[in-house]
């Protein structure tokens, strides 16, 4: 985990074995819950929103971004990634299966704007593959820290 006074809490896990997409969302959020950046209910809210609206969090082939609202239990601006050992199906008609599950939380409606902008830029320039190729957690955290 890396953290600075002003910056987001950033963490990652690699080689994750998730039974299904719900497990993958929990895995992505888990380090942020442990760090005290998200309340334990946050991943449940991400899952509930997807159950209500469909797999909104699947952004591109193989890549999902789990997120919910600030009032769903966000304590600190935060970003994490779970790289899955085995891809899972989210039920998306074009982008399944998914093996990189990102998660972020924002404590208000504006705190995450720069973070998301940087995340989008980094995803356009190969962040997901950097995470997939990361041999260990530290390498993945460093790759993700470049965003925050």
């Amino acid at each position: 985990m890396t953290e600075s006074a002003a910056g987001p809490v950033v963490d990652a896990v690699v080689g994750v074995r998730a039974a299904d997409w719900r497990g993958a969302v929990h895995a992505a959020c888990a380090p942020l819950v442990s760090a005290g950046a998200l309340e334990p209910r946050y991943p449940e809210r991400c899952i509930a929103i997807a159950e209500e609206h469909g797999p909104y969090m699947v952004l591109a082939p193989g890549i999902a971004l789990a997120h919910a609202r600030p009032d769903d239990g966000v304590l600190r601006l935060c970003l994490s990634a779970a790289v899955l050992a085995t891809p899972v199906e989210f039920g998306h008609d074009q982008n399944d299966p998914v093996d990189v599950v990102l998660a972020f939380g924002s404590p208000d409606d504006g705190a995450h704007l720069a973070l998301l902008q940087n995340l989008a830029e980094h995803l356009l320039t190969g962040l997901a593959d950097q995470l997939r190729l990361a041999p260990d957690r530290g390498t993945a955290v460093r790759a993700l820290s470049a965003v925050g």
Partner: protein, 102 residues
């Protein structure tokens, strides 16, 4: 280039939460519209709020497209948020079909 009457195009990007996916879509739409030379005001929101809003163009994942039929005359369904060129092509085609881009 802007829709008649001459004013910036209004574009709404929509996702289930209104925080993440729709924000990335907003940034991509702004890039794509800029490269098309289209003056536009792009806002992002969640699908529930979007139902009470109006825009020239609504952009969302396909799973929300049906919800947005009453929001905008042009609804674009996006499956890959990383494909800015694809979004640019979709916008180009849709705006030409409306006569908003020549």
């Amino acid at each position: 280039m802007s829709p008649a009457p001459s004013r910036p195009l209004t574009v709404l990007t929509v996702c289930g939460v209104g925080m993440g996916s729709s924000l990335i879509l907003k940034m991509n739409a702004e890039k794509a519209l800029k490269s098309l030379g289209v003056e536009a005001k792009v806002e992002h929101t969640d699908v529930s709020s979007a139902r009470g809003m109006k825009a020239d163009v609504a952009i969302a994942q396909g799973l929300h497209a049906d919800d947005l039929a009453s929001v905008a005359p042009v609804v674009l369904a996006i499956s890959n948020f990383m494909d800015v060129d694809g979004l640019r092509r979709q916008l180009d085609e849709a705006l030409r079909a409306q006569g908003w881009l020549s």
